[in-house]
């Protein structure tokens, strides 16, 4: 088990390094000279050289990349002597636009993204799993068919379109919700909830639909297994069978999927945050891409990849606890 875990972590780090290299190379090759960009309009060739030297942009590609990785692991400092700026580990560099530390920018905006992601995840698990279960139990009925039709529609509805629809119907027409505005929880919990409600729904709908479909088909498959017939032959009441015997095998794949989806939410949050103007990491990514702020793009891409890779490891490990068959094999 320990060996397995170590191997998984090693391959995760390998993938992260590859992703960072790939991303770094692409921006190194494709982007216009950042020094010119930072320097602005009143610029002299001397000043450009100075900025290049300060940021280490005069170094060859490999050296720059290694410096970047070293900065993440042990911190680094830019420039020399009195003008040197130190950047503690994990250092992702400084924004070309605002000179802020990328790490600080991300941590400052992270709570918003976490709020959006966690709220949406709670919503989609509740709706998706319970909807799927109900559909499976009432298989073939009008409810089942209706719910599955809604789920198909939910998968197909682009989230930015849903965002506009909700805003138009709930805010403009019915005026149930106020116009979304960032209000901290401590200041006004009701307003805070109203503010996040639409982003949660928008981010959750697609996943909830997918999960409802998955849970339904898994539960139906499980109900057809031999051990379910045994349980029924023992005379157990149907709800108990469902609770005690069917749920675990049917929901284990959902845990796997949830781990991956939750870890990959940073990508989904990008559109949601942009549409609702929430100042989270996703919006930070969109803004920095619009301004071609390479260090920030690098930082957010790496963070997103980090979550996906870590999510994979966590899911694999969780699986060995949830599914006894896997545990036996790996032992």
């Amino acid at each position: 088990m320990t060996l397995y875990l170590l191997r998984r972590i090693a391959s995760a780090i390998g993938i992260l390094l590859l992703i960072s290299l790939f991303t770094y190379a692409i921006f190194f090759l494709l982007s216009p000279d950042p020094a010119v960009q930072i320097c602005g309009k009143t610029c002299t060739p001397d000043r450009i050289d100075q900025i290049r030297a300060q940021l280490g942009l005069d170094q060859p590609f490999w050296q720059q990349y290694l410096e970047f990785i070293r900065g993440i692991v042990m911190g680094r400092s830019y420039g020399e002597g009195a003008s040197a700026v130190s950047c503690a580990a994990p250092c992702l560099g400084f924004s070309f636009q605002t000179n802020e530390s990328v790490m600080d920018m991300i941590t400052a905006r992270f709570p918003v993204t976490a709020t959006v992601a966690i709220g949406a995840a709670v919503l989609w698990l509740l709706v998706g799993v319970s909807g799927g279960l109900l559909s499976a139990v009432k298989q073939g009925t009008g409810w089942d068919r209706g719910a599955m039709m809604v789920a198909l529609a939910g998968i197909s509805l682009p989230n930015y379109f849903l965002a506009l629809l909700l805003q138009y119907v709930l805010v403009v027409q019915l005026q149930i919700l106020p116009f979304p505005q960032a209000v901290p929880f401590a200041e006004d919990p009701v307003r805070w909830f109203q503010n996040y409600l639409m982003p949660w729904i928008v981010l959750a709908l697609g996943y909830a639909s997918m999960y409802a479909r998955l849970v339904r088909s898994n539960v139906i498959d499980t109900l057809g297994e031999n051990f379910m017939r045994t349980a029924r032959a023992k005379g157990l009441p149907a709800p108990l069978i469902l609770r005690r015997h069917a749920l675990r095998p049917a929901l284990t794949p959902v845990v796997t999927l949830f781990g991956m989806d939750f870890a990959g939410l940073l990508g989904g949050a990008l559109i949601t945050e942009t549409v609702f103007g929430l100042n989270g990491v996703g919006k930070l990514a969109a803004d920095s891409i619009a301004k071609n702020d390479q260090p920030v793009i690098m930082g957010v891409t790496l963070l997103a990849a980090f979550f996906v890779v870590i999510g994979n490891v966590v899911v694999d490990v969780a699986y060995t606890f949830l599914d006894p068959r896997v545990r036996v094999k790996s032992a």
Binding site: L157, P158, V172, V275, A285, I289, V308
Partner: protein
Amino acid sequence: MSSSVPSELTTVAEEVGAPVGAPTPARRVIATLRSSPPVLLSVAFIVLVVLLAILAPLITAISGWGPYTFDKSAVDSDLGGVPIGNLGGISAEHWFGVEPGNGRDIFARIAFGAQVSLSIAVSATIVTTVLGVVLGMLAGFYGGWVDQVVSRVMDFLMAFPSLIFMIALLSALPAGNRPVLLVVVLSLFGWPYTARVVRGQAMSLRTSEFVESARASGAGGIRIVFREILPNLRGTIIVLATLAVPGYIGTEAGLSFLGVGVTPPTPSWGQMIATAVGWYAVDPMYFLIPGTFLFLTVLSFTVLGDRLRKALDSGDAAS
């Protein structure tokens, strides 16, 4: 590029309906699908959108308004450019109304937008299907180092935060030919999802009896892969491809919505919704029309793919 739209659809239809004569699995699937109202509605809508895309130049010639023609007389410049008339200026002149501000005809932009969206999605589907099937089959059939290499590349690409990366990549790339760039980027991150499924199936077919017999009669590896394994994957491939199309339509629209996809003035549904964001309160039709087209197109392909899979799964001869 629009010519690729009908060819893809007809090849799928031909493949499904090819064996004429005795009741074959393909005929059974078609019969099942034909009796399902949701499938019929979906197919009808897809045909409608495809026709709209192909005939866009012709239809807009009849309607009289091209996708780039401004019509200042259709918007009220005193009210900041809101379309004149109810429902975003829908009239006999402008069938779907006009864009607020510059008065471009929305119907024409929907039709030409369909051309862009469909040709990008279908091209990306063809590229990823070919790549995914070939690499997946090779990895699954040969195993060993081939499988190792393909599987590691797939792990790597699937761990990528693809949406963020696609946006970053597209914004960093020089303008160039946007639709082609979109196809390349979508395909780069899309093929592992096809390859993963195909690989699994090829692995289980590797040890089957007909492969053994082909091997015994002296067939080489490549020949077995393409002559014996490939035909057995037909059903899976058709389902995967059908379900890939709505995925790419959605992603392309999303990228265009975020401003890194198809560049203006070329119309695209996602980009239309993006420009409609600033107008949603005063002119809801401007986002409702492209949004509804996008939603129904994605839904139709999803329903079709979903029912196709069910029909194929329900019979024992799944191919």
